[in-house]
Symmetry: C2
Subunit: 160 residues, 2 copies
DNA sequence: CGCGATTAAGTTGTGCACAACTGAATAGTG
DNA sequence: CACTATTCAGTTGTGCACAACTTAATCGCG
């Protein structure tokens, strides 16, 4: 039987070429489709993810957004500043904890939810997948992400 | 039966939250693992993809690399400049067509292939997937990318 | 209570992705 | 053959991801 251990390094380099490239390409293809669908909303794809989180939770500290989207303040701070400049969110130092900044959608940001309502259906249609396929792919990707996030860095270096 | 047409918009927004986020997160988790594995080679993940292509083909014009990796000159030009500064590749105006620039690995760049030999196996091990799973996931992602790249932009806008 | 450790957000710097554009070379058509 | 259209690489500008760091507030231990 053909397993991870019976394939020579040389073939592996080629196989790897396929898999890492495939993920890379699929992600960018997805980004392209979202970019197009979100153009009329004036949102980028990461900004849309932030708005989805805020529509669901109403208001969150920056840290809370970061936990849900797995993004740090170095990414979120400028992104939120742009969303604020666009009039979609408000940022306010929390009175209870002055270190924390609470982010919430403005009325304009909330109104945007209605305009965004049709987006996911059009995206799903564009993938050509049915609900079961989408769920299946999502579960695989989630499991993969959890697995990869938990990898011990030492496993990845030659010196161990 | 539950299909794309029988799910209300509201649920769809939540489902969408899951799927787009999953892909996003999996990609970044993958990038993190590659980042760690490639640290000792002095390559970033996109630089590694370029080197994989060059190791396989020996020498290619910028356009050829871009076609294989689905990247344009705006991304590749500075990336290749960094690879050249690192001593891994050489760039030369093609004598036959002065518009074209031929990229090829230097001896140092070729030597790097040996150091990179163990990387894909360690990555594959980190995913916790076996060969069949990897192939299956790759095929799904490829099909998805092809489908998404071929989407008519009009399908994605409300005004149609 | 006081002070060092931790936490939150922000800043800086590097690299990638992509749109829009430039300039130079080539291809193709009348 | 001349001249327009296309092609190729590169540049510019915007935005995201992340590492490393800064600053300010809070926590918690002695």
């Amino acid at each position: 039987m053909e397993t991870l251990d019976t394939v020579p390094d040389e073939d592996f380099l080629r196989l790897d070429h396929q898999i890492c490239f495939s993920l890379h390409a699929a992600t960018r293809a997805f980004n392209g489709v979202y970019r197009e669908a979100l153009k009329e909303l004036g949102l980028t794809y990461p900004q849309y993810l932030v708005m989805l989180v805020l529509w669901e939770h109403g208001e969150l500290p920056v840290k809370g957004i970061g936990e849900r989207l797995r993004l740090d303040s170095g990414t979120l701070s400028p992104l939120l500043k742009r969303l604020e400049a666009g009039g979609y969110v408000e940022r306010r130092r929390s009175p209870e904890d002055e270190r924390s900044v609470t982010v919430r959608p403005t009325s304009e940001g909330t109104a945007l939810k209605e305009k965004a309502r049709g987006v996911p259906r059009r995206i799903a249609a564009a993938t050509g997948l049915d609900l079961a396929d989408i769920r299946d792919l999502r579960e695989r990707l989630d499991a993969l992400a959890v697995r990869l996030d938990g990898v011990d860095p030492d496993e990845l270096n030659v010196c161990r």
